[in-house]
Every structure is written in C-alpha cells, then in structure tokens.
C-alpha cells in the first residue's frame, strides 16, 4: 500500500433543519492510500453519501478534519443517476466538466473522445443520451468524471439505479477501467457483493450517527476481475463476514 492520499481525521457532522438536528457522523476516522480501492458499506441512510460531500469539500465538518497529506488532490464524483443532460450529445456531455473548468482544449477533447471510444461509446459520440441504454449512460457519466483526470474517484452508489445484470457487468467494466487508468477510488454502496467484488478494503459503517465499525481487508489475486471474484469461495466468506458485521 502506498502513502495516504486522503485522511479523514476524527470527523463529526451534524445536520440542521427547522425540525431539529441530526448527528450524521461521529468520530469518523479512516484513510485512503494512493492506488487503493476502498468501499464503504453501511445501513441505508447512515450518512455514507455525506462522507463523500465532506471529502469533496461541498460540506464542512462540525469538528475534525479531512486532509490530503500529499497536497491537493483532484477529485471526480460519480452519482447514482447519470444526470446526463438530455439536450447534449454523449460527447458534449462527457466534455461538460472540462468546459466548466475552462480546460477544454484540442488535446483534452481528443483524450476524452479516445476514452469514449476505448470503452465502447465510439458509435454514440453524436447520439443524445435518450438513445443509450442505462449501462451505457452510466459509462458515459464515468467518462465525464474521468475527463477531468481526477486522482481520486468518489463513487456514490453508481450502480444502484441499474438492473441486476447491467449492474454486474458494469461493475466489472468500471473496475477494470479504474485499474487501467490507475485511479484511486472510494465507493459508497449498500450492496455488500458489489463492495467485495470491487474493493481491496471494505469499511463497515454503523447506523446513524455513522462510525467506523470495522475495516476488512479484501484479498484477491490482482488480475481477478469483479465477476471473477464473485465465483470464488472467498467471496462468499467475505460476504458472510460483512453481513454479520452490519447486523452486529
């Protein structure tokens, strides 16, 4: 494991609404090393997504801090729904982030188009999102994120809006894309199987207020794909262990 890219250090967070306040995170500590794939699992509504907003800097913690020991780290965020803009072509959707950050050059455009082509969207560059299947749309959304060349990818339940089959194959593809592009990833999910099949470390969160309950290293041969992992006996063992942790 490399050095820590991200350090979440004794973070507390409280939400305030007119109805009252909610403690979302309590004394949360974990780190993500460069090149790692870390998954966060926890009961639904436990504040997993909140963690991502915090890391992204869109929310400020009530106490504690989120630090990047190796200096500022470009991040990309992938949402549960693809949120492709229906009036833009696939290519223009993928370029949206570059446009927003005024980084759209011939070179960055070529790179993004090359990514789209490499991962099977070459025939759909000029199609509107409406013409794509759910899996392809989500892949286009991933490439929109990758176009910004983030070091750390924050994945917020990116597969839960998809049907089961698409979910499995896309998880497989996304994992290989992330590995091939050499990115660090933090995946938030409620799907234990998804976490085990993709991550090399799983953080189990408690009910709200979320704390880190257990950290479980996942050990599979490096060349095994997400689908390949699902076929091993070790997968079942990990699954069972995390299931028990969640219920404990």
């Amino acid at each position: 494991m490399g050095k820590a890219l991200l350090n979440v250090d004794h973070v507390y967070l409280r939400y305030h609404t007119p109805q009252g306040e909610t403690e979302a995170l309590r004394d949360l500590c974990f780190r993500v090393e460069k090149g790692a794939f870390v998954a966060v699992v926890g009961p639904s509504g436990c504040g997993k997504t909140t963690v991502l907003s915090l890391i992204m800097g869109l929310n400020a913690p009530s106490a504690g801090e989120v630090t990047f020991p190796q200096g500022p780290c470009p991040m990309g965020y992938m949402l549960q729904r693809d949120n492709l803009l229906e009036w833009r072509t696939v290519e223009k959707n993928a370029l949206l982030g570059l446009e927003v950050q005024h980084r759209l050059t011939d070179q960055s455009r070529k790179k993004t188009v090359a990514l789209l082509k490499k991962y099977g969207l070459g025939d759909f560059l000029h199609s509107l999102p409406g013409e794509l299947s759910g899996g392809m749309r989500q892949k286009a959304a991933l490439i929109r994120t990758l176009a910004l060349e983030p070091e750390l990818l924050l994945l917020d339940e990116p597969f839960s809006a998809l049907d089961y089959q698409t979910r499995l194959t896309l998880a497989d593809e996304v994992l290989s894309i992330i590995k091939a592009e050499g990115k660090t990833a933090l995946l938030v999910t409620h799907d234990i199987g998804e976490a085990v099949s993709m991550a090399d470390r799983v953080l189990v969160f408690s009910d709200r207020p979320a704390r880190l309950k257990r950290e479980i290293p996942i050990d599979f041969p490096a060349d095994l794909s997400a689908l390949g992992r699902r076929e091993t006996p070790a997968f079942q063992a990990y699954f069972g262990r995390i299931w028990k942790e969640l219920r404990a």
């Binding site: 965020y77 949402l79 803009l85 927003v100 950050q101």
Partner: protein, 264 residues
C-alpha cells in the same frame, strides 16, 4: 423511396390520407362558417345591420384600404403589440432570472407575485392614463403589464425543471453559479420559456386592445369601439376578422421560433 414492405406502404398512405382529411375538414369549417354567415345575411335570417356579413366586411376593408387608413390602423396596433410582447417577455424573463439567482428575494416577493398574477391588470388602466397620458405609451405599458407577470411565473417554474441533482452534479464538476445557470438551468427551462412566449403573445393582444378601448385615436381596438358607438357593426366585424388574422400570424411566428429552437 422503396425499401419497405407493401404493408408499410399502405400504412404510410393511410397516414397521409388522414392528414389530408384533417386539412380538408379544417378548410370546410372555415368555408361553412363564412358561407352560412353570408347566406344568413342574404336570406335575412338575421339583420345584417346587427351581425354584418362577409361581403360587407370585405367592402368595409376595401373602403378603409381606399382611404389609406387600413394599413395605418393595423400598423399602430401591430406596433403596440409587438413592443408590448417584446418588452413584456424580455422583462419577464429577466425578472425570472433575477428571482432564480436570489432565492431570498424570490421568497420575499412570492406572495406579491401571486397577487399581481391574479389581479386583472385592466383595473390599472385609468391609473396608467393619469400617469403616462392618453397615448401609445399607456397602451404599450398595459400590454407589458398583462404579459409580464405570467411570463415571470412560467419561466421561473421552468427553471425548477433542472433537478437539484443536476445542479449538484455541476457543483461536483466545480461549476460556478453562473455556469450552472447557463449550462443546466437555462437549457432545461427552454421548453417552459417557449410556452411562456406563446401565452405572452395572446396576453399582449389582450393588453393592447383593452388599452385602445380606453385611450386611443387609432388602431383596431379603436375601430372596434368607434364602430360600436356609432353602430357600424361592419367596421367592428372587419376589425375582429383582421385581429384574428394578425394574432394567428404572430402566434405562428412564435411557434416557428419554437420549432427552430427545438430542432437545434
């Protein structure tokens, strides 16, 4: 043109026949309307002095044309309407943008907007005349008032068509508020903006005609009021027919614009 089955060909022909049938019937309705109107007047089913007739309408239009006044009246009304429409929608959209940008102001003004939307703007007519004077200015302001609030309300609700999540996406991409507006909120609101334009066209006509009823010395609204006062129903009917034509033309222009924006 080949490359499809006989069955598909039959289907296409059926579609075309259906379309032609609709167009034909539309024409017939118009013909029947004017035909019965004319016939009724000739056979004295009703008093043409009260209801006029197509031939008398045509005669009146011809006479106005001959006196060189037709284009002047049409021009005045058209000018007022187009100005009212442009200012009303322009200002309305601008206000909607401002209110989207400043949620605090939006919440402060919300009840006032609701009241203004419900208020019959025509009630302000006498006030306008006192403030601005009896002339083209008052008429245009009336048209602006009638179309402004409804435009603002419609366009503002259109801006909410861009979901919170899409706006969150823009934040994750590092967008500023201006970029979020230009790239997501505005394009998502375009369909609503188009329907606002369509509503606003009709509203501008209402404002202008009412304005002309109240103050003017020329224009189609003036002709209608004048015709009514001196019992020249031919003049009233002729003006109404002209209004129908003009309103349809202007609506058509907006629909054309909408088609171009959608097609892009």
């Amino acid at each position: 043109m080949s490359g499809y089955s006989a069955e598909h060909g039959a289907y296409l022909r059926r579609l075309r026949r259906r379309r032609q049938g609709v167009a034909l019937c539309r024409g017939l309705v118009l013909l029947l309307f004017f035909g019965l109107w004319e016939l009724g007047a000739r056979l004295a089913w009703f008093d043409p002095f009260i209801l006029s007739s197509p031939s008398r309408v045509l005669g009146t239009l011809g006479r106005l044309w001959g006196e060189g006044r037709l284009l002047m009246h049409v021009g005045v009304t058209l000018y007022e309407t187009v100005m009212g429409f442009l200012i009303g929608t322009g200002l309305g959209i601008f206000l909607a943008v401002v209110l989207w940008w400043l949620p605090f102001l939006n919440r402060v003004l919300d009840p006032y907007l609701v009241v203004l939307n419900a208020l019959p703007k025509i009630a302000l007519g006498p006030v306008l005349i006192v403030w601005i004077g009896a002339g083209v200015g008052s008429i245009i302001v009336m048209a602006v008032l009638v179309s402004l609030v409804v435009t603002t309300v419609t366009v503002l609700s259109g801006f909410t068509a861009a979901t919170e999540e899409k706006q969150f996406l823009m934040r994750t991409l590092g967008a500023t508020k201006g970029q979020t507006f230009l790239k997501v909120v505005l394009p998502a609101g375009v369909p609503h903006m188009m329907s606002a334009l369509k509503i606003s066209v009709g509203m501008s006509w209402v404002g202008v005609i009412v304005g002309e009823y109240l103050v003017s010395k020329s224009g189609l609204g003036y002709l209608i009021v004048y015709g009514g006062q001196v019992f020249k129903l031919d003049l009233v009917m002729a003006s109404v027919v002209l209004l129908c034509l003009l309103a349809a033309l202007m609506y058509g222009a907006v629909a054309l614009l909408e088609g171009r924006v959608r097609g892009k």
